[in-house]
Structures are given as C-alpha cells and as structure tokens.
C-alpha cells in the first residue's frame, strides 16, 4: 500500500534506481500491484549538501510543519500561523518551491501552499555512511 507521503532523501539516487528496477522486474514476473508499488507516493532525492542545508533551516522546517499540520488556506494565513512577517514567509516559500518540496494550489484569489504532489505528510531520510547496499537503506524498499 502506497502511503501518501513525500519522502526526502540525501544521496540515495542509485538505491532508488535499484529499488525501482527490482519492482519493475517483479511486476513483469506477475506480482500484484500492491507488491510492486513504491512505498511512498513521491520521492525527492537531493545530491548536494547545500540543498539539504537550505531545506533544513529552522525557518523552512517551521513552514513545512505548519503546512502539514494546520493546512493554511493562503500564504497570509500561514504567516499568521507561524507569527512571522508575510514577506519573509513568502520568500521562504519561494525557496521551498524551487527545491520542489511545496507547490501552490490556486483557490480563487488565494494561493494555498501544499506539499508537492498533494502529499499529506513528509518523511526525511538522511543516512550516513552512504551505502550502495539497497537492503540497508531506510525509506527505500524494493
């Protein structure tokens, strides 16, 4: 069963490719849809420390948490929720959008910030040491 989750990983591109190849092989072998489905709805894998550092800033994590927990209807409502300046929140949301983590849903004149792809929750998986052994990778399954 695929969870409606946005999974964020760091330097796991090869593991994701291997896992997908294995699922595809099993689909060809006749395994059921549930057995071959990706565990979570959408995965974003970052390869650069700078991107992860930007994503993990307190100001951005606060916004992500508020978006998931409070489901604000607009940028202004989100700014009120986190009690921060609208322009600063707007700038941070632009950064999260450019990282691919959030998007905006137009509702009348308002832009509602939501997680990418309409996912309902977010899961961060950063693992050291980096390994090419798929069996040992958290958040990735075959």
């Amino acid at each position: 069963m695929t969870e409606n989750t946005l999974t964020i990983t760091f330097q796991q591109a090869e593991q994701h490719r291997q896992a997908a190849r294995e699922r595809l092989r099993r689909a060809e072998a006749g395994d059921t849809d549930d057995e071959v489905a990706q565990d979570t709805r959408f995965i974003i894998n970052f390869e650069a420390f700078d991107d992860i550092a930007r994503l993990m800033r307190t100001s951005n994590l606060e916004l992500i948490e508020a978006i998931v927990s409070e489901e604000p209807a607009s940028i202004r409502q989100l700014a009120e929720t986190v009690d921060r300046d609208y322009r600063e929140v707007h700038r941070n949301l632009g950064e999260l959008e450019s990282l691919g983590v959030i998007e905006f849903k137009q509702e009348g004149s308002r832009k509602k910030p939501i997680l990418r792809g309409g996912t309902e929750n977010i899961d961060f998986s950063i693992r050291f040491p980096r390994s090419t052994d798929r069996s040992g990778v958290s958040g990735v399954s075959a």
Partner: protein, 95 residues
C-alpha cells in the same frame, strides 16, 4: 481500472532536476501495460531540456533568446516517425 506507481522519483543535483515516473496500468490505451514519463531540466532559468511522456519526446532549444520545443513521436527503439516544431514560452512536467 487499476494502476500502481512503480517509481516516482525526482533527483535534484544542484540545479539539475531529473524525474522518472513509471505506472503499471491495465488501461487498454497502453497495451504495454505501462505508462511512463521522464523529465530532465534545470532550475536556473533554462527550464525543461528533455522530457518523455509515453511515446512522445519533447526537447527544448534556445535560439536568439526564444525557446523552442520539439515534439517527436517515438515507437519502441525506432527514433522518430514524425516531428512537429512549435515555439513554447514555458514547459513543465505534469506528474
């Protein structure tokens, strides 16, 4: 009609974005049993460079400050069977 997402992954390598999506489907429109999409682009203003959606290949070039998108129909390993060129101000991956 059933479908199952086998892969939906986006790799972000500094300003490069690579997204792959594979869906197993029993929709008779897709006799192979699979739908797929691929996107390759940049976040630095160059936008989408190449994307595939099922048997359509979209590639983007820039000339004289204008952006051109070329759409090519592909069939299995055959490269092209028809080509249509249009100007497009923007292209984005619809996942």
């Amino acid at each position: 009609m059933g479908h199952s997402v086998i892969e939906d992954v986006e790799d972000r390598i500094e300003n490069r974005v690579i997204r792959r999506k594979i869906i197993k489907t029993d929709d008779s429109q897709y006799p192979s049993g699979y739908r797929y999409a691929f996107h390759y682009g940049y976040t630095d203003g160059r936008g989408t460079i190449l994307r595939y959606l099922e048997n359509l290949r979209f590639s983007t070039t820039h000339r004289n400050g204008h952006r051109f998108e070329t759409t090519t129909r592909t069939r299995l390993s055959v490269d092209t069977s028809a080509t249509q060129q249009t100007a497009s101000p923007k292209s984005s991956f619809q996942g």
